[in-house]
Amino acid sequence: MKMNSKNVLALLAGSALVFSAHAFSAEGKKAKKGKKPAAPAGEAAPAADAAAPAPAGDAAPASGSGDTAVADKAAPAKHRAPYGMAGCGLGSIVIKSNGKGAQIGAGFLNVTGVQTFGISTGSSNCKISKDDFAQREQEVFMEANLASVEQDSARGQGEHLAAFGDMLGCGQETDVSQLGEVAKSHHAEIFNSQDSKQVLSQFKALIKSDERLAKSCVRA
């Protein structure tokens, strides 16, 4: 009905506490250059990710063709496989939708999950400090849930707002409802911009200026 035909649903250019298992797609074979999987980032992954991709061999970033080639070099021997998941998983994520064609194909193939969102990650090792990590986590959360948080905030309560409070460490139930009241009464200020990073910093500034929340929301 009122579907938006835009291919790109949303672009998440923060860093994420996410990684995908295909992060090292080095398998010693088959990495054809120029063959790009449609769903994962590839063309779309913006380099707004401040955490630089890790060196090859450590955590070769996801599934773009170029990356695969790099990873290949890192594991030349057939049975010298890469190991494990990507680093500790900070990376950039991209949410985009494939075209209608792929969606229909996906239905027949039961590979749903790709067709709407391709989530791809760059990756880095874990040399990021705890505070930065929390900040990144919050940025990604806000980018991925902005519309829902905005709606919850207008109502003064809701699951996404509660999750946001949880992420900020606002401990008690009463703190969460206080958070709801702050979000509701300052809705226009918080969501003045549709940029999730600005929303986040605006939101956190308000929390810090609230006497009670400043104390309880320890990660704000």
Partner: protein, 651 residues
């Protein structure tokens, strides 16, 4: 899940060794105890029977195996693995050491005392330790995302896993993590996509993401309900899940439509983490709801601890809409239809505060659904209206939105099984009698009991009918396939009329039309049979439904077009517009009746329009789950009639 435990394990590994004296006799131990064929070992390697009943690993990446023939010889793989674990750390990064790469295998090898911790060289798996940091879980759920009519990309549903963070650390479900296995396709047109998928040409990988991304993806962007089956996993088994994920992380499993799909791989994954489970077997076909059913039955039905439901954006909207009184519903409809923010304000200001609050909430849910708001996507069509409504909402009281307890459909595990076979006997014109064999691997047709399936959605995959017919005149027997459809979909939305979702159908069909031939004015042929012409075609139709007695009587009409190839007296391309009127009557929970009347006009380059009218009536009585009795009758203006009765068994 205990991080300390891992440290202790690692510490014991470090402190050990160097001292180990003499060559170890692990090969003899493995061979003597036949450990290479141990069920758990094979589960850890994802071994399962392939199409030819031969057992081998599902994993296609050679890098997953320590032995060059490890995907086919579990004993070789075990010997090579132990050998690798015992190898001193060389010049390469310690994290490349087999002990670091294969924590799941290491755990089992130590459990089996093939080697002792003291035999192993000390290795610090720093990357792995870093990766585990902060991953503290106390539960795992299998999540099923429903199939949903009007969204062709979700015909069969999907399964993935949710890892529950320890409640004392994180209360919110959205902040949990999801484990997903999926294909990474590189084509955008449906045909390439489908063909490549059928033959396993897409790589499949595991991914690990915050659960909120999955919720945004399924609930909001796709509008699909989620069912979460919390599984009974011990702390050890949860730890094994992480071991496995690390081990499999980078490795490719080719994604096959039929068997190695998301669902099958998840079955393998679960039993590799909890080896007492046996979910997989020889299976030519795995669909997500089958996995849910297998999990439901597993462990003497003790595996599933609880079931939770998470409504999609559409369900949230509809349920909220249906809770309103009629007057409020009409206001919602006007606001959303007109999409004019000043009109909305005017309408809302006439309402009491309580009604206004409810209406604004429902409208916001509606916009969320119509705009498919997910992630940080902005509303476009309803941008101004949404802005105005949000602003107005901040001035209204904070209300707890009621929790939706009654899902739109029943849990997927209670539905009938997916595959079915059937046997019918019948009688056609001039007393010819026939026997029909029927086979259909998946999934659900409009006449079956709806429990566990989306109402009004029929998906028949690979539907085959084989008929043996005996002529009453000559006694001759002929055997043929009167009907075969690789895929046919019928969607009859029964949800609130306000949404006015279209009814639609899509069918790929090869059928034999039995009828008196207009072209030859043919009677029966000399063997005593009615003429039979094969039509191979695609049919698309679109129309509307009317819910006369909600839950009981549904009427629909459609305009359709078929086009394809016919093998009659005149061969070649044909097209055939048609109109049809149908009804679906649910008499009791276990009995349904449907009728379809259709008028069509067949046309080809060389013939004029041939008009046909046909009527078909079908009834179903469910004897018990998975057992159905069916009866049907067909009549056509081309002087052909047929009646049959039969029995269907789902398995």
């Amino acid at each position: 899940l205990n991080f300390c435990k891992t440290i202790i394990l690692a510490a014991s590994v470090w402190s050990a060794s160097a001292l180990s004296a003499g060559p170890l006799n692990y090969v003899a131990v493995i061979k003597e105890k036949h450990l290479g064929d141990h069920e758990t070992w094979k589960k850890i390697l994802f071994y399962g029977p392939n199409f030819y009943f031969h057992e081998r690993s599902l994993v296609d990446a050679p890098g997953f195996f320590m032995s060059p023939i490890g995907d086919d010889h579990p004993e070789e793989e075990l010997i090579a693995t132990v050998e690798g674990m015992l190898k001193p750390v060389g010049s390469e990064k310690p994290d490349q050491h087999p002990q670091c790469r294969h924590p799941r295998r290491l755990k089992w090898i130590l459990e089996q005392h093939i080697v002792e911790p003291s035999d192993l060289p000390p290795v610090v798996c720093q990357d792995y330790i870093d990766w585990l940091a902060g991953k503290h879980y106390d539960g795992i759920s299998l999540v099923f995302s429903s199939s949903y009519p009007n969204n062709p990309s979700s015909l069969f549903g999907h399964t993935f896993m949710r890892m529950h963070r320890i409640a004392t650390e994180q209360k919110s479900a959205l902040l949990d993590d999801a484990i997903n296995f999926t294909a990474f396709p590189d084509a955008d047109d449906p045909l390439t996509y489908t063909v490549k998928g059928l033959f396993g040409r897409y790589p499949g990988y595991f991914s690990f993401t915050p659960y909120y991304l999955k919720v945004q993806e399924y609930s909001n962007a796709d509008s699909r309900d989620l069912w979460e089956y919390r599984l009974n996993f011990s702390e050890d088994e949860l730890e094994a899940v992480l071991h496995l994920l690390w081990e499999l992380g980078p490795h490719r499993i080719n994604y096959f439509y039929f068997d190695d799909n998301c669902s099958a791989v998840i079955e393998y994954f679960l039993q590799a983490a909890k080896p007492s489970l046996q979910l997989t077997g020889y299976q030519y076909w795995v669909i997500p709801s089958d996995t849910v059913k297998a999990v439901r039955r597993a462990d003497g039905s003790q595996l599933v601890q609880s079931v939770a439901y998470r409504p999609s954006a559409l369900t949230r909207f509809l349920q909220a809409y249906l809770r309103l009184n009629r007057e409020a519903q009409e206001i919602v409809e006007r606001i959303l239809d007109q999409n004019d923010d000043s009109l909305a304000t005017k309408l809302l200001m006439e309402q009491s505060i309580e009604a206004r609050t409810q209406i604004v909430d429902v409208c916001l849910e509606g916009i969320e659904y119509f705009e498919r708001l997910a992630g940080s996507k902005e509303a476009s069509e309803y941008k101004d209206l949404r802005f105005r409504l949000l602003k107005m909402r901040t001035g209204l009281p904070t209300l707890t939105v009621p929790v939706i307890e009654t899902p739109a459909t029943e849990a997927p595990d209670i539905g009938h099984d997916s595959s079915r076979i059937g046997l019918s006997i019948g009688r056609s014109d001039h007393d010819n009698s026939f026997v029909d064999w029927h086979w259909r691997p998946a999934l659900h047709d409009k006449l079956s009991n709806n429990s566990g399936f989306a109402a009004g959605l029929g998906i028949d995959f690979f539907d085959v009918n084989l008929r043996s017919e005996k002529s009453s005149e000559t006694g001759n027997v002929r055997t043929y396939v009167p009907y075969f459809s690789p895929l046919s979909i019928l969607s009859l939305p029964v949800i609130a009329s306000y949404l006015r979702k279209p009814a639609w159908t899509l069918k790929f069909v090869s059928e034999d039309r039995l009828e008196w031939d207009v072209e030859t004015m043919g009677m029966r042929d000399d063997k005593g049979f009615v003429a039979r012409h094969r039509y191979v075609y695609t049919k698309v139709g679109i129309g509307q439904t009317w819910s006369l007695l909600p839950q009981h009587v549904l009427l629909y009409s459609m305009a359709a077009l078929s086009a394809g190839d016919r093998h009659g007296i005149s061969k070649g391309f044909f097209w055939e517009p048609s109109v049809l009127l149908g009804g679906l009557i649910t008499m009791t929970e276990n009995a349904k009746l449907s009728f379809t009347g259709e008028s069509s006009a067949e046309k080809s380059a060389v013939t004029a329009y041939n008009v046909r009218h046909s009527l078909e009536v079908d009834t179903m009585v469910q004897l018990k789950k998975n057992h159905e009795f069916r009866m049907s009758g067909k009549a056509s203006s081309r002087r052909y009639t047929e009646t049959k009765v039969g029995y269907l068994w789902y398995f």
